[in-house]
């Protein structure tokens, strides 16, 4: 547990300094705005990772029936959604400077907004049931179903149509060809750092929740 915190602090400090100060390749359209990649893309990766763990815990709850798994599933989902909101906000700020508008009708943007909506309705569902075991059972079932529908929404649908988003439709961006070693040495630590941060926040929230439950 301790190494997560140390690694997270070191990696994120490095990413914050290096992300703003190191040289980045000059690409058309993007220019210096490419620096958002070190913060925007890892938040989405973190969201997917945390939601996956949430669905995994929901599955554990269904198969084993221990209520702790349901609490874990809930906390991972809520922290995952928090990172999703961060991703959307950072993307919107970036879009304002690159595309000139906060929001466009783009499959990638809509997919991400919808994934947030799906999980908001997960919390609405949790709020509408009183009985704890019943709540856990229903929401676990919905969680697994929602995660399974999230995959085509985020990974398949946007790839079937053209998109303004960097990396799609011939726009320069974050795909394999444009990603040189200058970006990689900041991007990969950023991904790991943000995922560790997500796990850390969730562990703290879970500790608080378990303590509340004991009292």
């Amino acid at each position: 547990m301790k190494w997560i915190k140390i690694a997270c602090i070191i990696l994120l400090t490095y990413v914050t300094i290096a992300g703003f100060l190191f040289d980045v390749p000059e690409l058309p359209i993007l220019n210096e705005a490419i620096r958002v990649m070190f913060f925007h893309v890892p938040t989405w990766f973190t969201m997917i990772f945390l939601l996956f763990i949430s669905a995994l815990n929901a599955y554990y709850f269904i198969s084993k029936g221990t209520i702790n798994y349901d609490l874990k599933s809930r906390e991972y989902a809520s922290v995952g959604i928090f990172f999703g909101i961060l991703g959307i906000v950072s993307g919107m700020i970036w879009a304002k400077f690159t595309w000139g508008t906060y929001w466009t009708n783009d499959p990638k943007l809509n997919g991400s907004a919808l994934s947030l909506l799906i999980y908001f309705s997960y919390f609405v569902l949790r709020g509408s049931v009183r009985d704890q075991t019943k709540k856990a059972k229903i929401s676990s079932v919905y969680n697994i179903f929602a995660f399974a529908m999230l995959i085509p929404l985020i990974f398949i649908l946007p790839r079937m149509t053209d998109s303004l988003h960097p990396g799609n439709g011939g726009n320069p961006g974050f795909n394999v060809y444009d990603m040189n070693s200058q970006l990689r040495i900041i991007f990969y630590p950023a991904v790991i750092g943000f995922i560790l941060l997500g796990i850390w926040i969730t562990k703290l929230r879970l500790r608080l929740r378990f303590l509340n439950q004991k009292n």
Binding site: L117, S121, K137, I138, V141, I144, F145, A146, M149, P152
Partner: protein
């Protein structure tokens, strides 16, 4: 297993036929929403293919949510215990799914008839679109049956059903709208191939998930 599925379908059909108002209420709901669309566009009507297709599927979606949300509602608590000893959860969810599919495809054709009568008909190849209506009805009812089983466990379920189903059904609805847009004017397999494969894949995922997840839901 098939025999038991048919028994449940027959029972549902009998209940609906004897009460009678279920199908007609949803059909009336669809027809009046089509009439609202017709009146709100005024004498000009819809000239644009995109608007025509999107509005059609949105109307179908609203009708589907209203009808499918009731699919577990008539089952009282005592009858659920009775089912528990007679049928496996797989038989129950599949019978509900097939029943919803039949119900929704009937509704789709009623809606399509009235829609093309009032708003205008853009369809060039009727045969493909009729086939596609079945596919669409199956995909929508497939996705909504599990959600209606989930929302049935919640007490005030009318609002929960739509909250849960709208974001989840959206990928399927987008693919349906996409395929109809392409195929309405000139049908060509090359253009819709990817979308159709994706639709089949999604349906398989949902089918497998409803089979697995419903057994957990049912045990409560």
């Amino acid at each position: 297993m098939l025999k038991k599925i048919f028994i449940i379908i027959k029972k549902d059909l009998k209940i609906d036929l004897s009460q009678g108002h279920m199908f007609f209420s949803v059909a009336l709901y669809l027809i009046s929403s089509i009439f609202i669309v017709y009146l709100s566009f005024g004498s000009l009507g819809i000239k644009d293919l995109n608007t025509w297709v999107s509005l059609f599927w949105v109307i179908i979606l609203f009708g589907a949510i209203t009808s499918i949300s009731k699919s577990f509602l008539y089952e009282s608590k005592n009858r659920n215990y009775y089912y528990y000893f007679l049928f496996t959860p797989t038989e129950l969810i599949f019978s509900k799914l097939i029943y919803n599919f039949i119900f929704l495809s009937l509704l789709c054709f009623v809606a399509f008839g009235f829609y093309s009568l009032l708003v205008g008909n853009f369809i060039k190849s009727i045969s493909f679109f009729s086939l596609f209506l079945f596919v669409g009805a199956f995909s929508i009812s497939n996705c909504l049956t599990l959600i209606s089983a989930i929302s049935n466990q919640v007490r005030n379920n009318s609002a929960i059903m739509s909250v849960l189903s709208f974001p989840i059904i959206l990928p399927i609805l987008l693919i349906l709208i996409n395929i109809s847009k392409i195929s309405v004017s000139y049908f060509s397999w090359n253009l819709v191939e990817d979308d159709i494969y994706l639709l089949i894949l999604l349906n398989i995922i949902v089918l497998v998930l409803s089979k697995i997840l419903f057994s957990f839901l049912w045990r409560a």
